[in-house]
Every structure is written in C-alpha cells, then in structure tokens.
C-alpha cells in the first residue's frame, strides 16, 4: 500500500493531526533523547509537536519538534493531545533500522483521527512501506514546573562537549548529583558522593566552553542521580546546554540540538531538588 493511497479524509473525516517528514530520524532521535519511561504525552498545535515524559513526579522531559521541521504539519483543532507508548512508537519509527546511512532516509507520514483512534504511521524506505497502528490512551495531567525566566536565579550556557564526558562518567554509586552555581569560586561545580569517595568537577567562568554566565547567588542543590542520568542522551545529541535554577532549587536543562539538516530543535529536562541546601557548601 503506497503512501499515496493512504486516505486523507476519504470518508469525509479529516485527520486531527497529519504530518509528513522526509527523514524520520529528525523525529526518532529527539524522542530517544527523552525516552526514559514507556509512556509519553504528545501535544500538537499549529506550532509543532511536544512530547513529554515524566517520572516519579519529580522529573519531566520535553522534546519540541516545531512545525517547520516537518514537510507538512496540519492540526485541525487548537490542540491535539494523546498518550502513547513511547517504546512502541520508537520501534515503529526505526522499523528500518537505526544506522545513519545518509543516502537512504526513511520517509514518514503520521496521522491521528482523534480521541479513541490509534496513531497511524506510514514509513517508506527504498520502495518498502511499513504501516503501523499504535493505540493511544487517555492523556493524564502533567506536572507544571512553572519555570519562567523571572524566577531564574542562576543561569549558565555551556557548550555540550564540555559536559558530555562528565555526564557519561558520572559515579552512579552516588545517590545524588550536586550542582553548585556561584558568582565566586568554584563558579560551576558538579559533585558526586559515591562508594569510592566524592568527586568534584569544576568549570571556571572564563572557560572557552562557557558561553554565558549569569550567577548572582550561590546555590547548591542536589538531585537524584538516577533521575538525571537519562538526560545524558539529550546532552549527547546537543551542541549547547543551558542550565538554570530557580529560588526553590528546581533545575532546568535546555538542550539545543541540531539535526542532520542543520535545523534546530530543543529538548528540556526539569528536575526537583532532592534536598534544599541554599547556603554555600564549598
């Protein structure tokens, strides 16, 4: 069944969401960056698609794929929301494999009729067509971290290459990752307290990797390392990351990701602090 035969409103019903993408990897690689739970909530508006994954009521990851990334993106209502099994969605999007051969991208067409209907995917590579029907579920309430720029206390923007190794080698025997941001030394410090001892990684404010440094108050916050570890996937894909904390110690990590065609997408992670330690712990 070729892609062209797929009915677009053949029974008079329009699809609430219909989208086309020449290279399915533009979507699958971003979704992988937030894939730490089986279920995700998809939220589509005329601006694009947002996929949200949450865990333990303290961490939330969002992948934003704006409408311009798609060759076609049409939403018939103001917004369309559904919950879906992200592992299944990813297996379908990567049905032809995950090897990044530049000459043979997988083309994708995505359609959603509405509440109660499955998400339909049509994928094509080299003349072979795969049709997927994935059941959707009732959307659930999502956490609202209420993280707006006016609440931000400290903010730094780093080039991702500086953090990649650090995150890949985090001491997972430590229960927490401690982040210190300060206008004074050590400026930006990542600390772990594992079985073998504590480890501190300092980034000076004048480092080449530091693109922006806006820290006015010293803050030290701890976050459950098991919750933050999945963000390593987003970090690996990104070229830049912004790290922000608010007065309560909530953490926002925003990753700027450039896809194969040079287009920019964002993934963000929000995390609640494990303990509230606001005084300097140097």
């Amino acid at each position: 069944m070729p892609l062209s035969a797929e009915p677009a409103g053949s029974s008079g019903e329009q699809y609430l969401l219909s989208a086309s993408l020449d290279n399915a990897r533009h979507l699958s690689s971003l979704l992988r960056a937030v894939h730490f739970q089986d279920h995700a909530t998809c939220f589509a508006t005329a601006n694009g698609l947002r996929v949200t994954v949450e865990d333990a009521k303290c961490i939330q990851a969002n992948a934003f794929i704006q409408a311009e990334i798609f060759q076609e993106f049409a939403v018939q209502e103001e917004s369309v929301t559904f919950r879906i099994n992200l592992s299944v969605l990813l297996d379908c999007l990567t049905i032809f494999g995950t090897s990044s051969l530049p000459g043979t991208p997988t083309a994708l067409r995505m359609c959603y009729r509405g509440y109660g209907y499955p998400l339909m995917l049509f994928l094509e590579e080299g003349g072979v067509v795969t049709v997927c029907k994935i059941n959707t579920q009732e959307p659930v309430d999502l956490l609202d971290f209420d993280f707006c720029s006016t609440n931000v206390v400290n903010k730094i923007i780093l080039q991702s290459e500086g953090l990649r190794e650090a995150f890949a080698e985090l001491d997972m025997t430590s229960e927490v990752l401690q982040i210190t941001m300060s206008p004074d030394k050590p400026y930006f410090r990542l600390s772990t307290f594992g079985n073998a001892g504590s480890a501190h990684l300092d980034y000076p404010r004048d480092s080449d990797l530091m693109e922006a440094f806006y820290c006015n108050h010293t803050q030290t916050n701890r976050y459950k390392i098991s919750l933050l570890k999945p963000s390593t996937k987003a970090l690996a894909l990104s070229c830049k990351v912004s790290i922000r904390t608010d007065a309560q110690g909530f953490l926002s990590l925003q990753y700027m990701i450039r896809n194969e065609d040079g287009q920019i997408c964002f993934v963000e992670y929000y995390c609640c602090p494990d303990e509230d330690i606001t005084e300097a712990e140097l």
Binding site: I95, E125, V128
Partner: protein, 284 residues
C-alpha cells in the same frame, strides 16, 4: 571409523568459519553428517527446537584441500556426529590467519574432533593451537532420524527481499510481538505482519520474483488456475525467524521461501558452495 581433513587456503578457511558461525547461531547442538563428498549440518524437528529443522549442505571439495573419511561400515560409508557448533566456531576463531587447519576424529578418552590450527610464527617451528571438541557418535540405528526433510506441498514460492531490510524489520517487530505472520502471493508481494493489543505493524515488499518451479510441478496448484493476488500466510515464532536472519554473515546468492498455508515456512538460502534450508512450523 576415520576422519581427517585439512584446509590450507585462507579464503576457504574463512568461508568455512563463516558457515560454522551461521550454524552456531541457529542451533545449540546439531548433527554433523560426513560422507565422501559432502558435509551436512542437520537439526531435526524435535519439540525441544520448537519444531524448527535445518539442513545445511557443503561440498567438501570446495573447502578442504585434503579429506579422508571412512564410515562405520563399507556399505554405510558415512559418519554421524552430534556436536555443539559453537565449540567449532570458537576453535576456528583462532584460525583467522592460520597457515593450515587440520580436523581429525579422535577417541583418546572420549570421541572428539581435534582441530589443530597451525599459526604463523617468527621462528622456524610453527605454533600449533589444538582444540578438542567433544562429539557424540550417533549409532546407525538412529540415522533415519536425520533424513533430508521432504519439501512440503507449498502454496506459494517467492524470492526473499533484501535480507538486510528483512532483518531490521523483524528485529524491531520482535520487540513488539512474539509471533509474526509471513504472507506472500504469486505476484511478487510479501508482507510481514504483527498484531497485538497495543500495536499492529505491516511491512509490504513488492516486485519480488518467484523461482521457476513456483508455477510448475513443485506446486500442487498450477499458477494458471489460481488467483495470483491471493495471499498465502503462516504465523510463526518471530524469534526463530530473527535467529535465521541474524545468523546470515554473508549475503546469499539466492534466498527464497516456500509457504504451505498455515502449516510451515521453508527458507532456502543458497551461497556458491553452501545450501541452507530452514523450516519453521506455523504456531498452533
């Protein structure tokens, strides 16, 4: 009963290793049948295998520089051995740049295939690494268990699509379902389908040819009287299919399958010197 053989040519050795690696991926334990002209790796369709059977045939002349075999008796000049192909595969791993490999059937403490790998060395004397692979000698009275499986009366015969694509698709589908439906028709179309409560996925392959016997006497129903578009299907264990596809180290010259509706799928993979047949029964 005697068996000794030698491979000196590196290309033949690597080719042989690849065949053994493929067999090792398909069967934990199998039967090696030696005749004067051929080697056979056989897996018969016991319940323990999930009903899967395998028949792999090699012409010894295409691999071995020396090959001497004396069977159990003059009128039954064959040897049947039970072995774990992974052991042979591991032994051959040390032979990637060998000068020669000698294989010999011995019975020092128990029957073994002794694989002696002669490795190049800087000094005048060679290094020899020897592996003793335990084997079981299968008595003549059980030989009838290992006959070549008869080709089932299939309803459709079709060339397989690019194995690489099939492998990727089946690997993903394996994450989603335990069983897979293979269906094909005589118009060169094949579909792979899975369906669960959560998801259904169908991959459509087109423009696959079919082998010359498909409309000839191999098929019970001649193609002229049949609807070329109607699909013949069988639902099989997806892991068995994935094992077959994952085990292919080299692209076969010809790859095809015969489907007997709802009963069995028969895969035939032909390389220059090796033919591999793999039978996967339909799930109840």
């Amino acid at each position: 009963m005697r068996f000794r053989a030698k491979i000196v040519d590196l290309a033949c050795l690597n080719h042989f290793s690849r065949v053994i690696n493929t067999i090792a991926k398909l069967a934990k334990s199998c039967t090696l049948r030696l005749t004067v002209s051929k080697l056979y790796f056989i897996l018969s369709d016991k319940v323990a295998n999930g009903g899967v059977s395998m028949w792999c045939e090699l012409c010894q002349g295409n691999f071995f520089d020396e090959f001497q075999m004396e069977g159990v008796a003059a009128e039954c000049n064959e040897i049947y051995l039970e072995l774990v192909p992974e052991n042979l595969s591991r032994a051959l791993k040390t032979a990637q740049s060998a000068k020669a490999v000698k294989i010999k059937l011995t019975n020092k403490h128990c029957p073994c295939l002794r694989v002696a790998v002669e490795l190049p060395s800087l000094s005048s004397s060679s290094r020899i690494v020897t592996h003793d692979i335990p084997v079981g000698v299968i008595p003549r009275r059980l030989w009838s268990d290992f006959r070549e499986p008869s080709v089932p009366d299939f309803d459709v015969s079709i060339y397989l699509p690019a194995l690489k694509t099939m492998k990727s698709v089946v690997e993903r589908m394996k994450n989603l379902s335990n069983s897979i439906v293979i269906e094909a028709n005589l118009s060169g179309e094949m579909n792979l389908k899975i369906e669960t409560d959560l998801v259904s996925v169908t991959t459509h392959f087109k423009d696959l040819g079919y082998p010359p016997w498909a409309s000839g006497d191999g098929c019970e129903n001649s193609a002229q009287g049949r609807d070329l578009e109607s699909m013949t299907e069988a639902c099989i264990d997806i892991r068995k299919l994935q094992q077959l596809l994952a085990g292919q180290q080299v692209n076969p010259t010809k790859a095809l399958c015969n489907i007997a509706s709802k009963r069995i799928v028969h895969f035939i993979l032909l390389h220059e010197d090796v033919s591999l047949q793999y039978f996967i029964p339909a799930l109840a």
